[in-house]
């Protein structure tokens, strides 16, 4: 079957485009949740006492040690067993969020720790309290340091969201597969969604690089 001559070409294209929304909702929601959790966890790891920071360390170690698809399956197939059935999209959001929170926690912790000792010394020397040092020096600098990596992390989540296919969430990748099966041609639908994924990720990576270069110019990261 040839798309160019196929009268249903636009129907298929429209189906793919209409599923972009689901992909975006899935990735933005899980990414946002992951960010909130990761922020809290990174503050705990850096600023709290040893037992708590150890706990966070193990949270990260375990979640970074399992395949993403496993997390999704645990939420989708596992939770109903203990009486909490979750619809596929929620299972996907939870699974991606919880695993990604472990990666983002590392990113944020690294950014906080990357604020130089000299900056802290100067902040204390003018008389700022521990909170003041955090509020006016550590946080604003760590925020800038984390930004490029955080943007890249969203690209990763966006692409990883395609794994929701495995539990039947009809997002962009699933839609493309469905169409491929109907028209018995995998290449074209998959190429089209590749371009869409790339079309979102490329500008993000461009922005991320700009921020990174800015940081280097300001002497806030290595180089």
């Amino acid at each position: 079957m040839d798309w160019e001559t196929n009268p249903q070409f636009f129907t298929y294209i429209n189906l793919i485009f209409s599923s972009i929304g689901t992909t975006l909702i899935l990735s933005i929601t899980s990414f946002g949740l992951a960010t909130i959790v990761a922020l809290i966890l990174s503050f705990i790891e850096v600023f709290s006492s040893r037992p708590f920071s150890k706990l966070v360390e193990w949270y990260g170690r375990i979640l970074r040690g399992i395949p993403l698809i496993l997390a999704l399956f645990i939420f989708y197939y596992g939770l109903p067993r203990i009486g909490f059935p979750l619809p596929p999209i929620y299972s996907a959001i939870m699974g991606i969020a919880i695993v990604d929170s472990a990666y983002q926690e590392q990113l944020f912790r690294g950014a906080i720790e990357a604020v130089g000792e000299k900056q802290l010394e100067a902040a204390y020397a003018i008389g700022l309290t521990r909170w003041g040092v955090f509020r006016y020096v550590v946080f604003p600098q760590a925020f800038r340091i984390a930004l490029p990596g955080w943007i890249n992390e969203f690209s990763i989540v966006l692409k990883d969201s395609s794994i929701a296919y495995a539990i039947g969430v009809v997002e962009m990748f699933t839609q493309a597969i469905h169409i491929a099966q109907v028209i018995a041609d995998y290449l074209k639908p998959l190429l089209i969604i590749s371009i869409i994924y790339l079309g979102i990720c490329y500008p993000l990576s461009y922005i991320s690089n700009r921020f990174h270069r800015k940081l280097m110019e300001m002497g806030m990261v290595g180089g």
Partner: protein
């Protein structure tokens, strides 16, 4: 004791079992400029950091303007806000512009109203020769000499009782050293109380009221600059000075 703004008594600091400061005693009078010299690792930097409590001394007393700052329960943040500190590597907040670097302490530590803080910041920046065109620049856009002068302005603006300088010119290109020393000399002549750790013997000779020579964590000899630099009594100091004088060809300089 009258006129002493800072008194350091029997100060000790240990790192592990090694004493980096051993029984350090001295006092600084109001308006005095004291220069501390000595070889690397002699405890000069640690001494300065103990005075503003960035490093906690293990024994001894530090009295700032009648306040015993080493006592427990003292508000160390308040004490630090009364002591200026100028670092070897400038340590400007690199996410803030020059003027915001000066403003941070004024607005967030001293909690001055915006207008007054701004007036003070501008005044301080101008006094170190940082003109308006540089106020909105970030540290990375400034030369080392300009950065260090902004750092000095950051200290001055807080109206400190004393400013501590930790090798303020050691990280600068030779040509930029002059502009920083010049600002410090002006500050000293204007009556600012300061302790300066430095290897700039010309500065010590010209500006210091007293020079302290430290080695092995303790004060070996102190006295007027020409005594310590030209006619030291102590053998260790003499050896050090001979080398320094060779290094900087100080003989010629001092005859002028």
């Amino acid at each position: 004791m009258d006129g002493d703004i800072l008194v350091v008594e029997d100060l000790w600091k240990f790192y592990g079992r090694e004493a980096v400061l051993r029984d350090v005693n001295f006092s600084v009078r109001r308006n005095e400029t004291k220069v501390i010299i000595g070889p690397s690792g002699s405890g000069k930097s640690t001494l300065l950091r103990c005075i503003n409590l960035l490093v906690k001394p293990d024994r001894g007393r530090i009295i700032l303007d009648g306040d015993i700052v080493t006592e427990k329960k003292r508000d160390i943040h308040n004490i630090r806000s009364q002591i200026g500190f100028v670092f070897q590597h400038f340590n400007l907040f690199n996410h803030l512009t020059a003027i915001d670097n000066v403003l941070l302490g004024l607005t967030k530590v001293k909690r001055l109203p915006r207008e007054e803080a701004l007036r003070k910041a501008k005044e301080a920046l101008l006094s170190v020769g940082i003109t308006e065109d540089l106020w909105r620049k970030y540290p990375a856009q400034l030369s080392g000499g300009q950065q260090q002068r902004v750092a000095i302005a950051r200290a001055i603006a807080m109206d400190p009782k004393i400013i501590l300088f930790d090798e303020p010119t050691s990280a600068l290109d030779p040509e930029l050293i002059w502009e920083v020393l010049n600002v410090m000399e002006k500050l000293s002549r204007g009556g600012m109380t300061m302790i300066v750790v430095t290897h700039e013997l010309g500065f010590a000779m010209k500006v210091a009221h007293e020079v302290i020579f430290m080695d092995g964590g303790t004060i070996i000899e102190k006295g007027p600059p020409d005594q310590i630099l030209m006619h030291p009594k102590n053998e260790r100091v003499r050896r050090f000075m001979e080398r320094m004088i060779y290094l900087y060809s100080l003989n010629n300089q001092f005859k002028v």
